[in-house]
């Protein structure tokens, strides 16, 4: 059996039925890495021996009947901003060049508990800031479809590893398109779920109100399965902090994920301008009312603990009656002709198969970029303050006193793009500018959410491109950050509004570089976009 050609779910099935083993799968992947990695450089850290040991241990548990899930034994890659206990976690930054966490990110724990096996940690833009994976302190990653091109970013290593079969699937994080855009550039499936669906515990924060963990994989089916595992509320006491006796318990919200109020109330409440969160409320009533005794406590208060996560139920090849909106603003100036044709062809394909497709004006798209770079940079400037050389990570050697140590450590530890965003973020939060920039950006964010709310009153999905063009050439983007920022135009409003969106391959340009189709859903409507994506994928295959 040619294991490398299988999807994650197919491999899981082969392992589950004894046709293959976790160890064989890991060996196949490591073999592929040995061939391709030198050129592509998808990973920052791989420990082959440990990976094989982990695969052996998982295989024993599969044989003992302890692991029966669909992904048991399947090798996976982890973006290097997700903490892994005992394994170097650098965020592709010099400042965390020696950082080995003592804990594992919730998303990774969920996958490991389901039997997936870590291969290593993938390359990315430093602290997820960038759209090309070129801001990494540990070298560039090449696009498997065009070696002179970038893989996109920031989850470029994860996307390239999936495309190059250096893993069966990977985890990434998406703050402004960081899963969907590299997925699009590398011809794989990538999905960002509704904000709050996956716990952010152990994800090294970039823009806390925008960050979500999600899968990069080969098929929509893989995507649905992985997402279901990532979103699961696996608080069973073993991972909760047993010392917590009077914690807020399950204070996070959304017992009723479909409840529009959770997000709606936010945009309409009088103080919404102040609200940086996604409007998720900690309720002090019935939810938090439980005394914690014995009950584990969540480690991320923005995590929703959704119950509607049987995403595989959406894997139906059927779009009849589905209402799909195409925002005209997404097809205006700046969109590459080949990308436009491929995306519109995908829309036509869905229409031919029974979907009601129509154009509409989403508006506000032009404000998304400034609002996003204001909010994300503001949050990042604060989130990255903890990297100061005091407690862990890099420390400049030759400082005379405290403030010099801070300055030298941070000057030497961070790369230029990270410094640019820290400065931008510090500026927009500084007194005298807060109202003019940060607060205004939050208002724009609320307006964008409202525009999407209006659109989802009429449509089940919004369809458009992921990126204005296919993967740029290496080195093309770094000198012009503004141009790089503009490349995020179709992805970032999704993060600002907290929505789920998926990127599915929909063809290639004349150079063979992949093009991605983006399907955006309303909050908690992952199933609708998964169904549309699955239908399109199946139709295209046929």
């Amino acid at each position: 059996m040619e294991l490398l050609s299988l999807s994650a779910v197919e491999l899981g099935a082969a392992i589950g039925t004894g046709k293959a083993t976790a160890v064989e799968a890991m060996e196949a992947v490591l073999g592929r890495i040995a061939e391709a990695e030198e050129e592509l450089h998808c990973y920052i850290t791989i420990d082959k021996e440990k990976a094989l040991e982990r695969a052996q241990s998982v295989q024993r548990r599969i044989e003992a009947g302890e692991l029966t899930g669909p992904l048991a034994g399947v090798p996976m890659a982890i973006k290097d901003n997700l903490c892994t206990e005992g394994m170097l976690t650098t965020c592709a930054s010099r400042i965390l060049g020696n950082f080995v966490p003592t804990y594992t990110a919730q998303a990774v724990q969920n996958m490991e508990r389901a039997g997936a096996v870590i291969i290593g940690k993938t390359n990315m833009d430093e602290f997820a800031m960038g759209s090309t994976t070129e801001t990494s302190a540990y070298g560039i990653t090449r696009n498997p479809y065009g070696r002179e091109h970038v893989p996109g970013g920031s989850s470029g290593g994860s996307a390239a590893a999936v495309a190059a079969r250096e893993c069966f699937f990977a985890l990434g994080s998406d703050t402004g398109g960081s899963i969907r855009q590299p997925a699009s550039h590398c011809g794989v499936v990538g999905m960002k779920p509704t904000y709050g669906t996956v716990s952010r515990f152990g994800l090294i924060a970039y823009g806390s109100s925008l960050d979500q963990v999600g899968p990069l994989c080969r098929t929509v089916e893989d995507c649905a399965v992985i997402l279901g595992i990532l979103a699961a509320d696996s608080q069973d006491g073993s991972q909760g902090d047993s010392r917590i006796e009077d914690g807020m318990g399950r204070q996070a919200v959304g017992e009723k994920p479909q409840n529009q109020e959770i997000f709606g109330a936010e945009s309409h409440s009088p103080d919404s301008g102040l609200n940086a969160g996604q409007g998720i409320r900690q309720k002090t009533g019935q939810n938090a009312g439980q005394k914690a005794g014995g009950q584990a406590v969540r480690k991320d208060s923005t995590y929703l603990g959704r119950k509607d996560i049987d995403f595989t139920s959406a894997l139906k090849k059927d779009v009849r009656g589905m209402r799909i909106g195409i925002p005209r603003d997404y097809f205006g100036q700046g969109l590459d002709g080949e990308v436009r044709r491929a995306v519109l062809a995908a829309a036509e394909c869905l229409r031919e198969n029974g979907a009601a497709v129509e154009e509409f004006d989403l508006s506000l798209a032009e404000y998304a970029i400034p609002a996003y770079y204001t909010i994300a940079a503001a949050e990042a400037s604060s989130n990255l303050e903890r990297f100061d050389g005091i407690k862990y990570g890099y420390r400049a050697a030759d400082a005379e006193e405290l403030h010099q140590m801070y300055k030298k450590t941070r000057s030497q530890g961070f790369g230029p793009e990270v410094k640019r965003r820290i400065m931008l973020g510090s500026f927009v939060l500084s007194s005298g500018y807060y109202d003019a920039y940060y607060l205004k950006a939050l208002r724009v964010k609320a307006m964008i959410k409202k525009a999407f709310d209006d659109a989802f009153a009429r449509y089940d999905c919004i369809l458009g491109p992921v990126a204005p063009a296919t993967a740029p050439k290496l080195g093309e983007s770094l000198d012009d950050p503004l141009k790089m920022y503009l490349g995020d135009i179709y992805t970032i409003s999704v993060n600002l509004a907290g929505l789920p969106a998926i990127s599915v391959p929909c063809g290639a340009d004349k150079n063979g570089l992949p093009i991605g189709l983006q399907l955006i859903g309303d909050c908690f409507a992952e199933k609708k976009i998964l169904q549309a994506a699955y239908t399109y994928e199946q139709l295209k295959k046929a």
Partner: protein, 530 residues
């Protein structure tokens, strides 16, 4: 001084909340412990970790807000205050700026009218049934200059209870109460010439109570602090110990000419760790500002550090060097929306406060008003009293031990009632021993002192040290005989009519008995034998 000046004071009071675990993680808040032994990835600011609010913190904050007549913010948020310092592991403190949990409250302070006091606004003379109340929350200006510990004790207990001074009440407004986390501690190691960080305190929950600038002198400030402390202690929200830092006050002070409606430029004073220091710092800062104005200079808005040993304050930083904290809502913490059920739950749990407790004591226990005043002046004292009585002790006896020996030892050791370590069980036992004439009163005091120090079981202690009274029997007779034989001069004196000689002989006998005899019995026996 040619002009008449008025002092305007507002307080920022930090109170450490009595929770078992920290505000955003499950680490213990216990005081002490090896450096960094009460820490985890969250409270040491490790990458990727996130705060989750401790519900108890919210409960305490709301309870204090309700007890101080505040409006509870039904939709509140946390904000980040960004500044670089190693005691702050994330380099931002999670606090509340934009939507604090409580707003617009007040507490009423009760003041003794000073001779010649002119402040009439907001004041009313009390005429109610508490006419004999002698302000447990009172400090007199003339006491300033005494030792810190003594000052505090005086303020609480050193009044003469029966004198009915004219009294007035005053409302002190509370601008807001917000929740926040404490920082770690830096320890400079001079030997190694390095600075070490201990994060055990990092993430310990605090509330900051910000008053309106409603206070005019040190007496009002102390009265306000005492009132806050009492309310919070009664709620069990904190032990409010100034010396240990579980209650800390920063004083904002400005002066203006009497009649002026605008506020003068204010300074903020820090490092005030006793009521005495606060009173002295207020007086010192008032005079400093008046001197500046009299000399035609301007007061600079700045933060000053009070040095209580030197009795002077020093500028720490001016408004110009004030840091820009770049406050913004913390995106890691979902906003808290408080529903009616939660408020009701907290309201229902509010305890019996001092006034109600005093009324109940009057009805239930046969003890003087003065005792009631003192005992209810401290929640832990009142709890101890009630528990002792519940164990069967006579209220007046229990009260006597608290009013007498307990206060004496507290004062002597410069401790607060919150520092009392002995249990009500042991106090009840001691009372039983003393009342049952198992030990005499001198021994009882001695046993009590050990109980006070180490919470020893009085029964065991008496047993172990053989302190039970020997009131008859051959042992005592033999000792008395020996004393008579050894002191022929005194025997002669007594027989010659000198009554005092008998006292000497009793004393000698008690000494030989190591205090374990009942002096009355000894007296009887000596008389008989002579």
């Amino acid at each position: 001084m040619s002009k008449q000046y008025e002092t305007v004071i507002g307080l920022e009071v930090h109170v450490e909340l009595a929770t078992r675990t920290k505000i955003f993680c499950g680490c213990s808040t216990a005081f002490g412990g090896k450096p960094n032994s009460h820490t985890c990835p969250v409270c040491t600011g490790m990458p990727g970790t996130l705060p989750v609010l401790n519900r108890k913190v919210l409960e305490h904050a709301v309870a204090v807000g309700l007890a101080t007549n505040c409006r509870i913010t039904r939709y509140c948020k946390f904000d980040r205050k960004n500044y670089f310092y190693p005691d702050n592991p994330q380099n931002y403190q999670i606090s509340q700026l934009y939507l604090p949990i409580c707003r617009d409250g007040y507490v009423e302070i009760d003041l003794e009218e000073e001779a010649g006091e002119t402040e009439a606004e907001g004041a009313e003379t009390e005429t109610g049934r508490k006419g004999t109340k002698a302000g447990g929350e009172e400090t007199k200006d003339e006491r300033k200059g005494t030792k810190a510990g003594g000052e505090r004790t005086d303020a609480r207990w050193g009044m003469d209870g029966e004198k009915a001074a004219p009294r007035r009440k005053k409302r002190i407004g509370i601008h807001e109460i917000h929740m926040e986390e404490d920082a770690g501690k830096l320890i400079h190691d001079d030997w190694e010439d390095c600075t070490l960080v201990d994060y055990n305190r990092s993430g310990v929950p605090l509330i900051e109570i910000v008053s309106e600038p409603d206070m005019r002198n040190a007496r009002e400030v102390i009265a306000y602090l005492e009132k806050l402390r009492l309310i919070i202690q009664y709620l069990g929200a904190s032990d409010c110990k100034l010396q240990e830092g579980s209650m800390r006050a920063d004083v904002n002070l400005s002066v203006r000419q009497v009649g002026d409606t605008r506020l003068g430029t204010r300074t903020e004073m820090k490092n005030l760790n006793s009521f005495h220091a606060i009173a002295r710092a207020i007086e010192g800062e008032k005079l400093r500002q008046i001197d500046l104005l009299e000399a035609g200079e301007a007061v600079v808005q700045e933060t000053r550090r009070w040095d209580d040993l030197k009795g002077a304050s020093y500028a720490m930083r001016s408004k110009e060097d004030a840091q820009d904290y770049r406050y913004f809502p913390d995106p890691d913490l979902a906003p808290v929306s408080i529903d009616d059920a939660f408020l009701e739950e907290i309201r229902a749990r509010q305890p019996e406060f001092r006034t109600e407790k005093m009324a109940r004591y009057r009805a239930e226990y046969d003890i003087p008003d003065y005792d009631i005043e003192i005992i209810t002046g401290s929640k832990s004292m009142a709890d101890l009293f009630e528990a002792t009585v519940a164990l069967g002790a006579q209220p007046k006896k229990a009260s006597n031990w608290l009013m007498g020996e307990t206060l004496r030892l507290l004062k002597e050791r410069e401790l607060d009632p919150e520092d009392i370590r002995f249990s009500p069980e042991h106090l009840a036992k001691l009372i039983e021993l003393a009342e049952g004439k198992i030990i005499n009163s001198t021994v009882a005091k001695e046993v009590f002192e050990h109980m006070f120090e180490e919470d020893v079981d009085p029964e065991e202690y008496v047993e172990e040290h053989g302190l039970k009274m020997v009131s008859d029997g051959d042992d005592l007779r033999k000792v008395v005989e020996e004393v008579i034989a050894a002191n022929p001069k005194s025997v002669e004196d007594y027989k010659g009519g000198k009554e005092r000689a008998l006292g000497f002989l009793v004393g000698q006998t008690m000494k030989a008995m190591k205090g374990k005899a009942d002096p009355a019995v000894v007296n009887q026996m000596l008389k008989g034998m002579l």
